[in-house]
């Protein structure tokens, strides 16, 4: 490949270029998970909001598991994650799962990974609508051993929303 | 990267026709066109190998249909 600019060109242009960010590419969001892009007003993010999202994530995992009629151990086996992690995910809204675990769950349940990363707190989001939908879903999902037909409907609707969010 | 290999292609008149038309339409030489075709073919093949599906979307109805290629 022939480079169409010379060192001199760069030298002169850099002098007059403003000092601003040049980051680009959808792949950039993969880097969010390692804290590469910190929101400028980090302090303004509501801590409570994150906990509520993570709580909804726990509810989603639990409902998806129950929908398949799997025990925690069965899910742990199928997703190749630790049962301990799963128990904490489903019960502790302060527990932040590692990105790899979120990826495995996204795969085994066929749910969009990026949406799940946002929900689990692995990546930061300030999407108001996303938060509201998560809260709405969690509120409608009860803790019983078998999913009622209504719960199944609510679960399917929410998964559909996450899939549309991702595309 | 700098090393190049040569291949001779035997195409039917219809295929050659398509090569020429596409190259013209896209503003590419026939070689550049074939390289593009290879890239797209490989990219779809890799996705299918990973178990992913490839879909086309209708522009207005937004209906999705599976692109039946290479299985």
């Amino acid at each position: 490949m022939e480079m169409l600019i010379s060192p001199d060109w760069l030298r002169h242009k850099v002098e007059s270029d403003p000092d601003i960010d040049t980051d680009a590419g959808p792949a950039i969001y993969v880097l969010e998970s390692i804290g590469m892009f910190l929101p400028t007003e980090l302090n303004a993010i509501d801590k409570g909001k994150v906990v509520r999202l993570v709580e909804a994530f726990g509810v989603l995992v639990r409902q998806l598991r129950r929908g398949k009629q799997w025990s925690i151990d069965e899910l742990a086996f199928k997703a190749r994650v630790s049962a301990d992690d799963l128990r904490q995910i489903e019960r502790d809204p302060h527990f932040r799962p590692r990105p790899r675990v979120v990826h495995q769950l996204a795969t085994v349940f066929g749910v969009p990974e990026r949406a799940l990363m946002k929900l689990s707190g692995a990546t930061v989001t300030r999407d108001q609508a996303f938060e509201e939908e998560a809260m709405r879903f969690a509120a409608k999902s009860d803790d019983m051993s078998k999913l009622s037909r209504e719960e199944q409907r609510v679960l399917n609707q929410y998964v559909k929303y996450l899939s549309e969010e991702a595309s | 990267m700098l090393e190049k290999r040569t291949m001779t292609l035997n195409l039917s008149p219809h295929e050659m026709d398509v090569v020429e038309r596409l190259a013209d339409e896209k503003g590419l030489s026939k070689t550049a066109l074939m390289r593009q075709a290879l890239r797209l073919y490989q990219s779809i093949s890799i996705r299918l190998d990973n178990g992913e599906k490839v879909f086309v979307e209708h522009p207005t109805t937004k209906e999705k249909a599976e692109l039946m290629v290479l299985s």
């Binding site: 490949m1 022939e2 480079m3 169409l4 600019i5 060192p7 060109w9 760069l10 030298r11 242009k13 850099v14 002098e15 270029d17 403003p18 000092d19 601003i20 960010d21 040049t22 980051d23 680009a24 590419g25 959808p26 792949a27 950039i28 993969v30 880097l31 998970s33 390692i34 804290g35 590469m36 910190l38 400028t40 980090l42 302090n43 993010i45 509501d46 801590k47 994150v50 906990v51 932040r96 590692r98 990105p99 790899r100 990826h103 692995a122 595309s167 | 990267m1 700098l2 896209k26 503003g27 590419l28 030489s29 550049a32 390289r35 593009q36 290879l38 890239r39 797209l40 990219s43 890799i46």
Partner: protein, 208 residues
């Protein structure tokens, strides 16, 4: 694996002096490793610094296991090394990777005057944390973004795409691409990022 395209001068903002940078076409392993070994720790240090300023930031910072980020990044790089349609570039100065770029060669343009013509689509253009004004009071090297963009245009021309390039910009970079680089703004798309394209004429103007 990779090869050196050329040597170009970056400006070191801290000293005001010029520093020589090497532009690589196709990533070497060390460019990938620098990302995890050098870039990530600086982001983490910044996160720690911010978390000391208040409990909220500590909560947000979370715990990012090195193995997981390595795995995620390794996955992306692997996909992009395997395919013929991918091109990668690295900018190296003082023995450290300063910038990275992944570009796809199998894309088609959307801007009306070049609709459906083949285009180089930039999938990632990133600079090291110590070069960013957002993350440090004294950002170091200037010129990496411009150099990588010029590389993308050069790649486009070499592939017979006439300099056409496309990219999705982060919000803070929109001004750069629209006003400084002169690209056409095609609006926010499904990626939720703003998509920009450079036409043949705009590319020629940029590199002159």
């Amino acid at each position: 694996m990779g090869e050196v395209v050329g040597v170009y001068p970056l400006k070191d903002r801290r000293t005001g002096k010029e520093v020589e940078a090497t532009l690589w076409h196709s990533l070497e392993d060390r460019h990938v490793q620098d990302f995890i070994g050098r870039w990530k720790p600086v982001f983490e240090a910044r996160l720690n610094e911010l978390s000391r300023k208040g409990p909220v930031t500590a909560e947000i910072a979370g715990e990012h296991n090195v193995q997981d980020s390595h795995w995620q990044w390794a996955q992306k790089v692997e996909q992009r090394r395997e395919g013929l349609e991918w091109a990668s570039f690295a900018v190296e100065a003082e023995g450290v990777t300063q910038g990275l770029m992944f570009a796809r060669m199998g894309a088609f343009a959307q801007e009306p005057s070049q609709r459906n013509k083949p285009i180089v689509d930039i999938d990632l253009l990133a600079t090291a944390p110590w070069n960013r004004s957002q993350l440090t009071d004294q950002p170091q090297f200037k010129g990496i973004g411009r150099l990588l963009l010029a590389a993308a245009i050069s790649l486009s021309v070499s592939e017979e795409f006439a300099g056409r390039i496309g990219l999705h910009a982060l919000p803070q970079a929109e001004t750069w691409y629209r006003d400084v680089c002169g690209m056409t703004d095609l609006g926010v798309d499904r990626t939720k990022m703003r998509y920009f394209e450079m036409t043949e004429a705009q590319a020629r103007a940029f590199i002159s």
